[in-house]
């Protein structure tokens, strides 16, 4: 298949764009694969890609019940960052960041990764200390981080209410310059196309309805397009984790599914040039290439599989964005949407073998899954291919709860709605 480049664009433009080929094939499922990846979202597609690219395992199918990228990667505020506190998280997300930095090239697909910086605002001396602690943890972990004074913040981000009379005055901000945003759909499509080019079968409209088993061993899946056998079955279904696991007989699991809303304003000319988060509440905001302000806040706080948000949560988010940027009050909300998050008990993901033989699990991304996509796919593929975790995902097992080794960035404990 042709490489994408400025040249290929020009050539095709001259021929009326009639010669473009599908970005990926639409094969029928084969009866048997080496690996089946359930879930054609970002993580599943990345996993399939790295299985092929890094481990030479190409007899792989990705099964997607809807259209590729229809899960959380399709409804996303697209922030990429590695500004974590705990060493386990730092290692993992920084590994991801490094993959991001070369991703467009690697996939021959412009995922529009834009390292415009993520700025976390702090609003009290205590919060400033907590952010500085995190920034220093980043620096000790080899990750870039800077501390900005309110004056520096005012210069960098015009429109922010940096006045002392703000209800929660800005005490400073933690900036990760290498962090930024990417075009979420392009990530899914880029991985899909790259996996497909390496021989992976991407099968849409194929819902897994059950698991084939030999005793405890998982040997394949039943789907709406027939039974498919595989040596290994890997799960990367985000908000649907519990539902799919229930089909494998696992009734209880340390995951709750919650709705998270995201919002976009009408497009305007460049307004804010980095990602900004508001520390006196929970809000993150950036501007898309099209010009819309993209923002989100807390979960809707209850278990849900409906991709539908509620009004009070939306109002809370709007209040916070107006407190941060008083000019935004006059701009108009264009669209809102809700995604289903698989909230884990400590706010950190689970990437592991098991819980049944032949089964591999990747879940619990809460609302931080997008930025993790490359590292998640990479380490999950590693785990599937070698039957042992990569160093970066070794701490993210299920047994951490048994051992008391939770990776709890927010310190909220087993209360998923608060992570």
């Amino acid at each position: 298949m042709a490489e994408y480049s400025a040249l290929s664009l020009l050539k095709n433009a001259l021929s009326g764009n009639r010669d473009w080929k599908p970005a990926w094939r639409k094969p029928d499922p084969k009866p048997r694969y080496d690996v089946i990846v359930i879930g054609g979202g970002g993580h599943g597609l990345a996993t399939a890609y790295y299985l092929a690219a890094e481990h030479g395992i190409t007899n792989v199918a990705v099964l997607e019940k809807g259209w590729l990228g229809s899960g959380n990667i399709g409804r996303n505020t697209t922030i990429v960052r590695s500004n974590y506190l705990l060493p386990e998280s730092l290692r993992f997300y920084e590994f991801s960041m490094k993959l991001w930095e070369n991703l467009s090239h690697e996939l021959n697909y412009n995922v529009m990764f834009s390292q415009r910086g993520v700025l976390n605002l702090a609003h009290s001396p205590g919060q400033a200390d907590a952010f500085i602690r995190r920034g220093n943890a980043m620096r000790h972990g080899g990750v870039d981080a800077e501390w900005l004074t309110p004056q520096e913040i005012a210069r960098k981000v015009p429109g922010l209410d940096t006045s002392g009379s703000a209800r929660f005055p800005i005490a400073g901000g933690l900036l990760q310059p290498r962090a930024g945003t990417a075009r979420h759909d392009a990530v899914a499509w880029g991985y899909a196309r790259a996996a497909d080019r390496r021989g992976v079968d991407l099968i849409e409209n194929c819902e897994v309805t059950g698991f084939l088993r030999d005793g405890d061993q998982i040997t394949g899946v039943s789907t709406t397009r027939g039974d498919i056998r595989a040596k290994k079955v890997a799960l990367a279904v985000a908000g649907s984790t519990s539902r799919v696991l229930q089909r494998a007989g696992i009734e209880r699991f340390p995951i709750e599914s919650h709705v998270l809303q995201a919002f976009v304003s009408e497009a305007i000319k460049p307004f804010v040039n980095c990602v900004v988060t508001f520390g006196a509440g929970h809000l993150y905001m950036s501007q898309s290439d099209k010009g819309g302000l993209v923002f989100g806040g807390s979960l809707d706080f209850y278990n849900s599989y409906a991709q539908r948000g509620n009004l009070p949560a939306a109002e809370d988010v709007m209040s916070e964005i107006c407190a941060m940027f008083p000019a935004v009050a006059r701009l108009r909300l264009l669209r809102s949407w809700g995604g289903v998050m698989d909230m884990s008990m400590d706010g950190s993901p689970i990437i592991t073998r098991g819980p049944l033989p032949g089964l591999y699990l990747n879940c619990g991304w809460c609302y931080g899954g997008f930025k993790a996509t490359p590292a998640s796919g990479y380490s999950f593929a590693w785990t599937i291919a070698r039957d042992e975790p990569h160093a970066i995902n070794a701490p993210f097992t299920l047994s951490r709860f048994e051992r008391g080794a939770a990776i709890d960035e927010t310190g909220h404990g087993p209360t998923p709605k608060l992570h």
Binding site: L9, N17, P22, A23, N110, F113, R139, H140, E266, A280
Partner: protein, 997 residues
Amino acid sequence: MSPRRTRTGGLIDRARTIRFTFDGESYTGHAGDTLASALLANGVSLAGRSFKYHRPRGVFSAGIDEPNVLVTLLREGVREPNIPATQIEIYDGLRAESQNRFPSLAWDLGAVNQLGGRLIGAGFYYKTFMGPVIGPLKGTRFWMMCEHFIRCAAGLGRADYEADPSRYERVNAFCDVLVVGGGIAGLMAAEAAAKAGKRVILAEQEPQTGGFARWSDETLDGKPAHQWVAELTERLTRFDTVRLLPRTAVWGYYDGNTLAALERVHDHVARTPKGHARQRHWTIRARDVVLATGALERPIVFPGNDRPGVMLAGATRRYATEFGVLPGNRTIFFTNNDSAYEAAVAIKRAGGHIAAIVDVRPRIGDAATALATEAGVVPLTGRAVAGTKGSRALSGALVQAFDAETGRLSGEARPLECDSLAVSGGWQPVLHLASQAGAKPVWDEDKQAFLPPEPAQRWTGAGAFLGKFSSADALASGRDAGLKCAGKRPSRARLPEIAPEALNPAPAPVLEIRGRGKAFVDFQHDVTADDVRLAHREGFVSVEHLKRYTTLGMATDQGKTSNVPGLAIMAAARGITIPEAGTTRFRPPYSPVAIGALAAERYGDLKPERFTPMHDWHVEHGAEMTPAGLWHRPLVYASAGETVEQAYIREAAAVRRSVGIVDVSTLGKIAVKGPDAATFLDRVYTNTFSTLKVGKARYGLMLREDGIAFDDGTTWRLGETDFLMTTTTANAGAVMQHLEYCLDVLWPDLRVHLTSVTDQWAGAAIAGPQARAVLERCVTGTKVDNETLPFMGIVHGQIDGALVMICRLSFSGERAYEVYCGAGHGQHVWEALMEAGEPFDITPYGMEALGALRIEKGHVTGAEIDGRTTARDLYLDWMLSKKKPFIGSGLMDRPALIDRNRLRLVGIVSLDGQKLGGGAHLVERGSSDEPGESIGHVTAYCYSPALQKYIGLALVRGGKARHGTRVLLSDPLRRRFGQVEVVSHHFFDPDGERMHG
């Protein structure tokens, strides 16, 4: 006289002339005009530029669906971008600017993008800009450089950074029936429900009710439709139980029949009166909802269909009839259905000239033929518009023979001169709200439109929303819907007689004419029919992929005009039917909503402020206040010229030397009462409270169920069954909720009541060697000597006439007392204490000194109890009772939680005489360039007046085992590195002699 304004007719007030400016040019219009109608009346056809190609564009619709003419309003000193001109009622002094053009609308440099049309079709971004593999532009840099220019070119209007001066408000409303849409169906529904005694709210997005009736030429019972509507509306206003909300768009349908609506209260006047809201956000809880949201006209996609002068047929009719504005001097109609014929007659009657009616259908009915005759033309059936002429304004259309069966054009393209082209591709009911409420639209082959399915929530449809396009059907279905909501059966009573009879607007299934040149599907985002086919070719065939790959339907009009044509083109490319191609689910909002309106009263005041009873005293005495959650607390009381550091050192030193006073009213306080109160406390605290004697207090620790430390505080036993629990300021709410959960859910058999008394008590802590002497000078009714009031004892007495409760407890290591009194007496008692302390130079101190004192004592607080530490990490294992289970005891002994190498509490002392810093890390080795591996971090630091050194608390791997060793302080963020000694966290008076003495 404006060039396009008719001599008479319309519902505008011709006696009132209104002046406004557009791009700096002055124009006039009349009361009742929208900006769009006024611009058209003035002959302004070029009024906008498109998003991507910067194509010249003119007004396309007459309502909420306008994709082309978005303007920036300059109002109240700020810019308000992206407002559709069709939605702006003009007022004297209105200032509007066109958008997305430089330097001007007529001469726009961005139009150069049109040259690259084929190059920058759908998805082009994804295929290039990856940049070089090496060199200064490798990695993401090349893309970011290109992105910079792309961003400047994208976007529509420009916003400024000035705070929005507007006021917004929310109103909560409750009703039996919410009617969405004030057309004749909605009005009938409202009247029927109101007559049945129901509380009704009727919301209409336009300034006036009536909808289609305002610009139709129908009569109802012999009256012009608009007059009939006005009378019915007037009747509705006479019901006490009916609330009419004009200029109110219902934009969100949420769970449980909660709907959100935006009322544009004062956008139609020059200035919002002081104290009033510019816009109002309604949250309406309705038992039943009537959706009478009408239908929107669809365009037909054909080459050149975006030229200024091309307009929806229904819009031309509305402009002519309601506003007295002709769309042009020579108008061609292009249609696949009969409704355009009615529009043509309306234009003709208003004095316009119809150049032709082009109809894709091979044959038309008698009624349409008669209308064509009345319009003065012979319809050109079996033909289609295959192209347009003109650049910044339409000058003609190319008409060609067309086979509706095969979709093919044939024969010569015949140019016809025109300056206005009115298009109708049929009508699509507005299903957005129903879709938000979970309804999946159903395709109706006959009507060639998606119709609502059976409702999932409590709504009832009426009128054109149901695909009932005739006024007779609208009246009947509206009345039935109102009756149904009132629990009544459909009525057989007479309905108004309507003349003339409406035509059936069922269209021919033709939504695209394929020819040469760009044919636009989504006008605002410049998505062409070829883009849709390119998406198909590249495999982006599901509706959602199509939308994302091409951005079809994602503009500010949210695809109101482009949705169905886009689907039709994709369906044709895939060789499947439209319903097989699918529909997208609509999300709130139906139409854009000002973000400030949703913030409502919280815009300008995000969170309520919480003040202690002594707040005003602190401010009057020079306290610098700092936020602590919602509270304001004194940070320091700096005297002139003092820095914060100097001030807190002075304050803390005063406590050690003599006596200080601090406001502790913010501590959470919970009354725990009942026969089982002691048992309850034993279960929630790690230590035992049932053994606590009446009149004594005890320090307690709570864990979470997972064994991690949760909160600490003292609890006072005021009576056998009466306890007063204190919590940290930050956790007060969480602890209360936790305790309530325990009682309601875990142990409903316990007889315990909880009441938040945080606000009942003002608290002042008096600490220092002279603390007792201060109390002795002012407390009456009790002694406060060591015997009467030993450490952790409680006494009751009075200070200057006010009842007080005094507990002797200390977080500073000093002899200290917490004096509690009724909050209303807080300042009174505080002042009395200040006066009593005068001989001892009593010093008020703030959070900083409070922190310094507790660090010296090694007392933990929120910085250490951070949700990741255990009791053992903080060396509080002595508080973990072995005699009883408690919350958290089940899991607190898991191996990783008792690992010796965990981060545990220590004290640190700066060895270089320099400040430490909260959030600094500790390393065994490292340099500023190579910070090394962190072994822990500083949780709190201060200058210790007692030790005359910079000291701190830290959580360090191994904890106690490191006492006496030296490690490096590493704070790369603030470029501070230095050596510290690890010591016990009990810096000051470790044996508690001062505290107990």
